[in-house]
């Protein structure tokens, strides 16, 4: 059995670890709230934009413009969204595993030809793929310091430009979709080319004819598509950010519980050791007294 002092030191050290994990959990809970608010704030904008776009493009057929052009997927860009920090369970490794699976299965031939690039948002992905110059296409790790639509829009713009001049034939985003604080859903979303909008309800058709369009229906759609793409990427980043804090909260909660359990066990063995020491001492004293009497 470990000595009394050793056990006491371990209890102290586990206790301070527990304090750290508890604090991290609190911080993540607070940040999660803010991240969730950001998602909620985006929703009306995204919904309305989608609604207008769907109404318009439905009556227009397939005039989706240069971002809707489907080419054989020879050159692929994967946008991997992770976090800058660890200690959030399987959050980052899920993204990396999914990207690796895409590289090995779906885009195996393109990968062999060196035509798959990975754009990393978040330090964990860029740490992992940064060493692999064949696939690494840069990172945007500073984004999470303060997520703004502008900053995300700039990334989306450069990706859209690359797609338009045929540097890439397909762009996919891999990120953790935010379900709730405890659940993250790993998601692969095609960003470019734009997929035709799912056929909306019939009521949409009627609306179109009543509107005045300025400058014209096609022009409006062409202007709205880049906006909707930026919104899509922005939403993915916000989702991932909220998921990160959700994941960290859960894993830190678990760590705190584990520390609690560990402290309990250590305390038990500490008390056992203490009692054994006391018993020993009494035995010695009694033994000594016996010797004097005898």
């Amino acid at each position: 059995m470990a000595s009394l002092k050793e056990v006491r030191l371990r209890i102290v050290s586990v206790g301070s670890t527990q304090q750290i994990t508890k604090a991290m959990k609190m911080v993540s809970a607070a940040k999660l709230r803010r991240a969730q608010d950001a998602i909620l704030a985006l929703r009306p904008y995204a919904q309305k934009l989608q609604e207008i776009l769907e109404n318009l493009s439905q009556s227009m057929g397939d005039a989706g413009g240069k971002y809707a052009r489907v080419r054989p997927a020879e050159k692929v860009l994967l946008i991997a969204i992770t976090s800058n920090r660890g200690l959030c369970g399987a959050f980052n490794s899920n993204v990396i595993r999914t990207v690796n699976r895409l590289l090995a299965d779906k885009y195996a031939t393109q990968n062999k030809a060196g035509n798959v690039k990975i754009l990393c948002i978040g330090k964990k992905a860029s740490d992992f793929y940064g060493k692999n110059a064949a696939v690494y296409a840069g990172n945007h790790n500073t984004l999470f310091a303060g997520i703004t639509f502008d900053a995300v829009a700039k990334i989306a713009e450069s990706v859209m430009a690359d797609f338009a001049n045929e540097q890439y034939d397909r762009v996919e985003i891999i990120y953790n979709q935010f379900k709730n604080a405890a659940t993250q859903l790993i998601t692969i979303e095609q960003m470019l080319p734009i997929q035709p909008a799912a056929k909306a309800a019939d009521k949409a058709k009627k609306m179109v004819s009543d509107y005045i369009f300025e400058p014209g229906q096609t022009e409006i759609v062409l202007e709205l598509i880049p906006k909707s793409l930026k919104t899509q990427l922005f939403k993915a980043v916000l989702d991932s950010h909220a998921s990160e804090h959700g994941a960290r909260m859960t894993s830190m909660n678990k760590a705190t519980d584990n520390a609690e359990e560990l402290i309990k066990q250590l305390k038990l063995s500490y008390n056992k050791a203490r009692q054994a020491a006391i018993t020993n001492e009494i035995l010695e004293i009694v033994g000594g007294a016996e010797a004097l009497n005898g």
Partner: protein, 79 residues
Amino acid sequence: MYLDIITPEKKLFSGEVNSVKVPGTDGEFQVLKNHAPIISTLQKGTVKVKSAEGLKTFTIGGGVIEVLKNKVILLAEVV
């Protein structure tokens, strides 16, 4: 007439207004009560909102406006 000005990050304005002047791609125009339904893209400029409380202006970097049955929704990008 009810106006919502929404950006990807927050709601800039929401409330009852008398008129709103926007920088349309084809030129500035004003939306008053009972305006015909319209969808128009907007360019960089200022949006002027007149309500009972007075005049309010917002600078936008582009966007789109939809007017339908005295409900105006302005999706804006901030600059």
